[in-house]
Amino acid sequence: MIRYWWTSLVASARGGGVLYLLTVVGAALGVASVLSIQIINRSAVGAFEAGLQAVSGDADLSILGRTPTFPERLYPEVLAESGVAAAWPLYRVDVALAGREAVFLEVVGADLVAPLQVPWQGESADPADALTRPGWIAVSPDLATRMGWRPGDRFEVTSGSRRARLVVGALVDWRRRSPRASARLALMDIAQAQGLLGHPGRLSQIDVRAAPGADLSALASRLAARLGPGVQVLTPAARGEQAADLLAAFRLNLTALSLISLFVGLFVVHESVQAALVRRRAELGLLRSLGATRGQLLALILAEVVLLGLIGVALGLPLGYWVAAANVEVVSATLTNLYLLERIESLQFPVALAGLAALIGVAGALTGGLWPALDMGRRRTTALLAPFTLHQAIRSIAGRLAAGGAVGLAVAAAWFAWVGRGWRPGGFVLGVALLAAIPLVTPLLVERAGAWVRLRGFGLGYSLKSLATRLQTTSFAVASLAIAVSMLVGITLMIGSFRRTVEVWVQTTIRADVYVTTPSWARAGSEATLDPAVVAALRGHPGVAFVDRLRRLSAYVGGRRIAVAGIDMTLPRREERFAFVGGDPAEAVRRVREKGAILVSEPLARKAGLGRGDRVAIAGPDGALTFPIAGVYYDYSTEAGAVVMDLATLDARFGPGGIHSLALYLEPGRDPDRVIDELKQRLPDAPLVFRSNRRLREEIFAVFDQTFAVTRVLQGMSLLIAVSGITLTLLVLARERLSELALYRALGARRRQLFGLFVGKGLAMGLLALALGLAGGVALAAILIFVINRAYFGWTIQVHWPWAALGREVGAILAAAMVASLYPALRASRTPATELSRDDI
């Protein structure tokens, strides 16, 4: 039987190479889609873990502030705790390379005589040199090579509005400790880092090595109790989990989208297996009549499916890696923009992931092929040998299938309304039920659409009607395209609505004429402060009516890391700066200004269950600080959550600190670009970044669009898979329906007409898929906007119909469907009338 299987497979592949190719393409694209996202997800978490391993790999515990830094006096406390074998303080700050604002160094300030194991490149650094030579820094060999630095070379960095001149003192190869550690990790003496780049007397972290045999969890508890509520004591694993949790929503959404591509790919595999089996029905019937058992037939078919799946996997693995590599930059930028996490500098492709992809590919192919294989294995021998009985089954159950889909969807909706609403992933259940309903409804739609058409010629109507002839084949192609269209339309609607919502929000909140910050602000956060002299100079510049100051730091609400911002609430018309979810804006602002209350961003309010009038505890430097909530405002800058308070309140409750950015309101008639030029001339040495209102808005939308770039790639892959399904189906029809095509030729149809008939079939499939996909897409958008987005990100998105984008997509889908039908149409048009077989049609 194995010999027969191989001979038969080779013969079939020779006869229908394109069909097999499309099966493999379907499996390969599905595998590639899932794999690329898993590689990116893994690499994102891996980038954080690699940094952790490089710097804190020797530590059993890390002590971190609940605000960005904590006082140095806690260090002796740590050393005094029993069970601590060693501890070393760290001060971490990200600085921008002067003149190359996009290049950051992640500076680790450490006590170089402490037990920290430093992986020096070449000879160990001389501690005396590191301590006494001003600006001494050890950089990675990779960065040194990239920048052309050698020991002794000098370069300048900025931290906030400060400039510091550093000298390459040694090379430190973190990658010996952690192969994927960032090349931008650099090492300085802690006192120099504090003094030159940050704040003396403050620490970012204390790493602890426990005494042999010490109970880590007990030690962590004792340290936490001893050091007070201003810090948290974490194991390296817990820190990794924090990063993974931070990215959970982002990763889950990408994974869900990639699974849709896999789902569509699975349909294509199903379709192609079905097609191959229908084509070989006589052969299978003959085998049965010659005594082959159903089990043998099933094994024969499934072995072929597995083989094709494996070929798909073999192609999908490199393709997935390539897609990941092509998109890692934009995803990395999104992660650093939204989550302030490490950049992904290298991709991780562990063997386990390759194994998972292989499993997905083969299991997907098997799942796609199982039903048609079982169906074919079950058939009576006479049915296999008779040509007319196939495709009748699905016609007879089309109504029941559609009813099943509708009932399934209704049950899922009812479940969600009563039970699933409180369960975070409930929205995904709804989405799956929706996408599952689409293929179930499709046969009825195709059949009814065909029946509805009243023929007036041999054009599109005829093509549409003829789709019902091979209902099973065409339904699968239409269904897979409809699912891809649903995804496309749903996400376009969601992104379009989101973009419009953000536009409105930006118009409300971005009102100043000029925004001023520092190059290191994007990464360094709280350390990137503006010198008070710079603030004063900007404030006193002619033409500047008033200045809004922003101080921002990170803190915790419960286990959630949030942004805490302080702005000057005494400035006029402050209530117009925020878009409030409800309540009286003027009253909210008055309470913030006069009563020390705070405003809470919508994502935080949703996730933490907070509302106007509630009180919230924010972990401050010396323990929990409680604030009344004066209002909830729409905020799309961070999904983690944020609070805003008056600057005076922030200084009073969290301790004084520097200003991070300024918003300048100009006198009427002043040209922002001109004022920016004047300011640059006035402060030539201050490393400042000026943005006009217009430029800031442009940058916000550039980041927005970048965030969804990978989504677009997944949409494209899904559509590509679905469109290849159309080609596959039409090729099957061109092959299966030879007699029909020959009949048309015999009745006087020209080749051009057959070509047109098949292009029409492709177009008709595109139209049906569009009809179904638009409906599915709108429903999917509703689930994304009102359920999944709110559950995972907490944003309110106002529904907006991006007609232009939708119109372009409709055009692209129809064009793709037509293009997909060109090759089959060409094949069909070459059918000679002599192909009229003695078989019935």
């Binding site: 023929l455 041999f458 009607k465 009949l743 030729r745 009745l747 020209r750 003695r838």
Partner: protein, 232 residues
Amino acid sequence: MALAFRRVSKVYQGAGRAPRFALRDVSFDLAAGRRVAIVGRSGSGKSTLLHVAAGIDVPTAGDVVVGGRSLGALSDRARTLLRRAEIGLVFQFFHLLPHLSVHDNVALPELIAGGRPATFRPRVGELLERVGLADRAADPVHELSGGEMQRVAICRALLRRPRLLLADEPTGNLDEASSRLVLDLMLSLAKEEESALLYVTHSRELAGLADETWRLQDGGLGDASPPGGLRP
């Protein structure tokens, strides 16, 4: 003259094998309105003759003239258009399309030709009336019996009033009673429509219904028989 063959030969050249003559130097004239049956053993070239006559296949040598136009001088496109305008075809296995109703199956040649529905619908109705299937016009074809299906196929072939009707074993898939009925119908309709009819059959009885019967043997055309019987 509806159809003329001038020393037509058709040779199939198999790779590494000796050439096989499907038609060998065949010549005949078929006058308008004349009805001729062709008989012969399997493989004698009957179907090839019909395919060549319809312009579906091209002869290796000789010429075929349909309605005064030499097919050899025509391009594939022109032959297709000629077939559309001048020739009706009936097949052993009916070749009706399952996604079309009885009415639409009959109307198919006009749909292909781009005819106006208002013009051809009355003609479709009239033909279905004449074959007794007017009340089945909206039915799907798979609900019809074999004889009914072939009647639909005959209507389709006659829809555009062809000068020449070619039928390849039109009763080959029918029982005896249905065969006689269908052939009687086809012969009478061809006469009424003044179409020349050339049909292939294995049945001596059904061949005897034609104006004359021609025997095809090893690709060559034998003597013609008188009306009412086949000359041995």
